[in-house]
Symmetry: C2
Subunit: 435 residues, 2 copies
Amino acid sequence: MATIITGIGVKDVRFPTSRAGDGSDAMNPNPDHSLAYAILYTNTPRLEGHGITFTIGPGTELVTAAISAYAPLLVGQSVDSIFENMGSFWRQLVSFSPLRWLGPEKGVVHLAVAAVTNALWDLYGKILKKPVWKILSDLSPAQLVQLVDFRYIDDVLKEDEALDILTRAEPDKMAREDRVRGTGYPAYTTSAGWIGYSDAKFRTLLEEKLSLGWRAFKIKVGQDLDDNVRRASMFREIAGDDVALMFDANQVWNVDEAIAHVRHLAQFNPVWIEEPTSPDDVLGHARIAQAISPIGVATGEHCHNRIMFKQLFQLTAIRYCQLDACRLGGINEALAVLLMAAKFGVPVCPHAGALGLREVQQHLSIFDYIAVSGSLDGQMLEFANNYEEAFISPAQIHEGHYLVPTTAGLGVDLNAEAYEKYEYPNGSVWSAQLV
Amino acid sequence: MATIITGIGVKDVRFPTSRAGDGSDAMNPNPDHSLAYAILYTNTPRLEGHGITFTIGPGTELVTAAISAYAPLLVGQSVDSIFENMGSFWRQLVSFSPLRWLGPEKGVVHLAVAAVTNALWDLYGKILKKPVWKILSDLSPAQLVQLVDFRYIDDVLKEDEALDILTRAEPDKMAREDRVRGTGYPAYTTSAGWIGYSDAKFRTLLEEKLSLGWRAFKIKVGQDLDDNVRRASMFREIAGDDVALMFDANQVWNVDEAIAHVRHLAQFNPVWIEEPTSPDDVLGHARIAQAISPIGVATGEHCHNRIMFKQLFQLTAIRYCQLDACRLGGINEALAVLLMAAKFGVPVCPHAGALGLREVQQHLSIFDYIAVSGSLDGQMLEFANNYEEAFISPAQIHEGHYLVPTTAGLGVDLNAEAYEKYEYPNGSVWSAQLV
């Protein structure tokens, strides 16, 4: 029996991370890490596709409303027919003219496209009984290329080139799959370095994570250079010189400020500076990259589509590509960016420092290693531990590596208890507060 | 008595323009031109600020929901205290972290910031009993500079430079104000050239508008080169060679396609090609601009913030700046773009080919002429006639020129009959359809 999408539901789920300062950074002092779910109901009982995008509290209701606005394009469709030509279906989603006007391909409507697209992949994975990374890895180069919308990027990546990249990776796919199943995928953690943590908490968490085998850390930096220097000094004092350190400014600087700050922070030998300025400023990133080399520039969590990444690659403006399949229009557009990153030789280090994101992006990194870049050189996947217990199949970490997920689909389904507690506004955590 | 904002209302008003093909283009075949209103209620009876952003039908409800999400920043504030430091108030709006996450400074949340900001200016104008262009023109250079958020643009435009630009324009402000009050502001019309019109309708409208004194026209083009050539040939046959012609592709081409198409269309001597490709592709616009010179590249209606315009200016990627105070974050951010355009000597030709937009953008163009660029060289303001009767004080045209508006505020208030007919979903035009 063909699986038909019979309806779309949405869930607005907010976790009170701000209460402990988790997730805090220079731009977002009090984020409540939240997920907007697109839930695809089908004609098969209990078979549902769950896809997410990520938000930080108020405004999540705008994204769930946008997800609902895409329902007319989905309800009544068969999953098989969608995936027979998933590339052109995705193009239909982003081309729905009145919603496109509100972007185009950016902001709330594109976050909704991400959730919907990810829900389709989750549903497809549940039908095929495979995790999404495995579905993608098992597709042929010709099938993968069909998933990509080359509109607006074909001046830099043509379909033929994409096919060449994938075909070159083809012979050793199985060997790499075996390897990553054995060793896991290298990760770094952001969980020690949120900007709202006290120095004492930072020290405790850092020591704890070092003892768990973590060898790469990201810490948040801000406008106050003294604070940044103090925190980075503590890091090197505790962790030593052989542990990788990344800085994340969360867009807090103008271009010239970024250059000046990073020159001061160079003494701590960071791998990268992340989001040094506005994510829209491609030329600004290029100038910063040139000025602060050999420290790399990293960005991506707010790069909203393949066209922005295209330009960052064209100008050698980033040394690390932090794509996010929940900010881009889901798995399909992430694939376009992975292919461009491979063409330009830029390591892929997805944005995954939050609940839900880590569950989604692991599929990208593992698939990229197996079937696109074929490389682990400079590639690391972000991790943050928080609310793992809310997920039926949370991402698994061992000694600073992601274990390859085995659950069918995308693995973002929440358990019943999580909904009871965190769904907004009626979950117990929120309804208690609203009384 | 101080005027206090006591509440925010929203209105979702949709005009059924698609029924006649009005507004149709290559990317948007069936737009229903719509307005999302932010309405600021005050402690003074009947004193309300009305601000808009522009949409094309479904999805307008996402923007009105976003406007409501900004209410906590506005309700209870006094208008005087907001305008004592309107620049930093605007910065607070765009920096509200959880909503910023959904952009940043783009898409649905930024459209909402536009509506809210424009509503504040409308309210301020009604209090001062001045149209917004006049308030702005009467401010000193130092006061104007305080309205601008230089964040992310100060590598290209520093506050001092902005002050210099405005100070240079200061001595002749009165003379230019007198002149534009006398002659009006030069305009072009888009109303003959919507892509969904038959050739017969195109011919009739073109002849009618020529007889009304119009001497500059924009026509929509699309993927079909033969159609584009036929329509452009008709234009030159009817209008002759002395009438200005602009083409608008509404983002329908990739970079290489754009270059190839425009080379074919060069024979019709167009002033510009508008939106040749994705509005996010700054480098693509630069390449097109270089390839098709002396035809100019124009874009802006989908350039979502000052950072995107900054880069277009840095790369000489556009010859005409089509900013839109309803896509940018309202009057404040438009001012930042006007200043950069003046610095780079790029003529300002705002996006105004629709109801509501023409009413708003006339304030920008007139103010720019009086107090910023001081020039009419290459500058034209778009116009489209449609549903003027819905507005209490619609924009006024005489012989291809906008007459200087005299109504206090922004002039976007609708009359009661318009709400009865067009408010969505309960207006008579829509409720009849939904039965």
